[in-house]
Amino acid sequence: MDMNEIKEIFFQECEEQLAELESGLLRLNDGDRDPETVNAVFRAVHSIKGGAGAFGLDDLVSFAHVFETTLDCVRSNKLEPTAEVLKVMLKSADVLADLTNVARDGGSVDQARSKQLIRELEALANGEAPPPAAVVEAPAAKPAAAAPAPVVNDEGFVPVAFSFDDFGGEEDVLIVHPTYEISFKPKADLYSKGNEATLLLRDLSRLGEMSIHCNMEALPSLEQMDPESAYFSWKISVKTDKGEDAIRSVFEFAEWDCDLEISLADEGTAAEMTDEELPMQPVPFDLSVLDDEPDAPVGVVEEEERLAAVHESAATVAAAEVASNVVQLASTASRAAAEPKAAAPAAAAAQNTAQAASAAAPTIRVDLDRVDRLINLVGELVINQAMLSQSVIENDNNGTSSINMGLEELQQLTREIQDSVMAIRAQPVKPVFQRMARTVREIADITGKSVRLITEGENTEVDKTVIDKLAEPLTHMIRNAVDHGLEMPEKRVALGKNPEGTVRLTAKHRSGRIVIELADDGQGINREKVRQKAIDNDLIAADANLSDEEIDNLIFHAGFSTADKVSDLSGRGVGMDVVKRSIQALGGRINISSKPGHGSVFTMSLPLTLAVLDGMVVTVAGQTLVVPLTAIVETLQPEASAIHSFGASQRLISIRNSFCPLVDVGRILNFRSTQANPVEGVALLVESEGGGQRALMVDAIQGQRQVVIKSLEANYTHVPGIAAATILGDGRVALILDVDAVVSASRGQPLKLETSLAAAG
């Protein structure tokens, strides 16, 4: 596994952690005060920081660190997670996501924004609460050396040690290596995050000759102590030629969780040190016993050993170049070694609170291409199986029962295989919904509105293609809902509403489709304004008499925008018609229902998969067509008495005392030029997107079957009225009817028809 693959896995994990982070923060925002939620959020940021550190993603590390510090204040109850605090945190989560994306895909982040957030986070951590350093404020062991210790600042800038031995010539070989005085005082966090002081000290001891003094003054009596807090602190002097960088790299993963001072002692101070009242214990160089720790992966240990050998041989060379290389190697090794340690606290915490986190089922990551190839193959298998059954039926009139039974079993199996393969592609809509949370926050910020996004049914699963294509229309709609739908807080208060607007995003399965609902509690569609706008834009006649539903549907018309001012967010008039088209491209429908003063509800109904479809195979003018089963409400054989003429060419069918327009599919698709006699055919009652019902006239129903969708656009070109194509059992191509397009076409230009209907009515 090369570095890039490991990095890729890291980014995938980052995505999961970011999702975890955001959902945790949102739970906190909803008033969840479960410490495990705070821990989960903290862990997410910490894991990202740890991984980013291993790959040297400094921007990410420094931001994550500040974020983590603030979260730690929340975790230790020093900072109350108020709405304001969470707002900053949610924004920080967004920036963290941006930084992760930039680290993966390149590009740049809004530096000003992240700087600003860093300041805000720091203010939260420092201003309203003592910094986490105060957890254990024991009398710190000050380093004896007077030299000012370089401090690692929050920008992740580590001062480079300027050690003179790097410039040493041959004469340095015999010269005593410089001695570094290190004051190391862990904080409780160091341990709780799974770092282990003993391991750090072991790594340190490998750098050279080391003497150590452990300061136990801070240690309280047994009953007063918190066994998981930090009381020990150390004064260490190391004689090494590896330079200060090597020492710092030992503490790389712990430096934020300890007070660390490193200084170069000259001979005088070193001697002074040893003469002090604190006895320094020389540390034996043979620490092999410690290497057998079960938790250190064998590979890492071996690697460390190998590197240690490199160190030793390098030490005799004492050439500056080699030395710096070794430092690099050493730091790589310590990073590698630190990784499993970083993972440890998560595991430990998970153990402690096993009941809080639902056990995740084991998963594997598979390339999407592979799944798609499998799905294609299964599609071919289904077609092949249908062809096989067909030819058996055609060639063998009686059909021996064993062949027929075998075929039936085969059919069942293929169906099951298909369902299982489809299930592989099915994904919860959660990631899309979570992205919407961010959209809402950003728009709320820009518009100065206060918005709360409530999501329900995030675990509803739908095909990945649908999910991928859902994000854009949903973003559009959310923007509209916040920008146009919700009122400004003052206005809401004046109206007696909660100043905080609510946008509710729900997903659910309903009869083989996924239904996504976006509801806001804003002002609803201003029908007067929409109507006026439509008249101004010559979309409808000034005296047209439109139903409320018809007016609402006007907003889906291309080039329609009701915003008085074109804002940055929405109102360019390309919004809703684009939304409608993308939803339709997914084989979906969209409906609005709006109540003035109470808000609007947009309902989208989408197919669960774009690969197969349950359809009714029908004959129209000698052609075989497939009508999606989900569109069909019922089928009926019209009687002559139920058919009524209406206007010049329109006909209505009376069904249970209500009238429904008859749509001759053959005419609309130009399969024939004359109208078919409805009594000779079959009527399919379909639900059209406007909510009304239409009766589609076809000649005959052949049957119902599952068909594999083959895109017409990809293989040929778009044909109006046709959604896609499929291959039937006899090997012929059948077209899949685009019911909504046919219904619209039956009205001519939809809006023209509405006006003419209105004029007539």
Partner: protein, 97 residues
């Protein structure tokens, strides 16, 4: 002598004394207050700073109680770790009599 003439209690340490063990070890020691104690660290393969803190705090408390706190046996790993992190346990080692 303030100490009652009770048989010294003994405590055998777990092989792995890491972060997760610190709390448990603390609890065990707390339950053994008030009498002499001998600690068997011969099985220890790995010991972290937190557990050493607990042990040292114990030694301190036992000393304050004027009870004996001794390590009867220690493993190589235990000794090496204490040396590594500069914790001197020589005075706590059981004296050969």
């Amino acid at each position: 002598m303030a100490a009652k003439k009770a048989a010294p209690k003994s405590l055998s340490l777990a092989p792995v004394l890491d972060l997760n063990e610190a709390q448990a070890l603390h609890g065990k020691l707390m339950g053994m207050r008030g009498s002499n104690i001998t600690i068997d660290a011969s099985a220890v393969e790995r010991v972290g700073a937190l557990c050493l803190q607990v042990l040292m705090a114990g030694a301190k408390s036992w000393e304050a109680d004027k009870h004996a706190f001794t390590f009867s046996k220690v493993s190589d790993a235990f000794t090496k770790t204490t040396q590594l992190i500069g914790v001197n346990i020589d005075h706590l080692m059981a004296k050969e009599i």
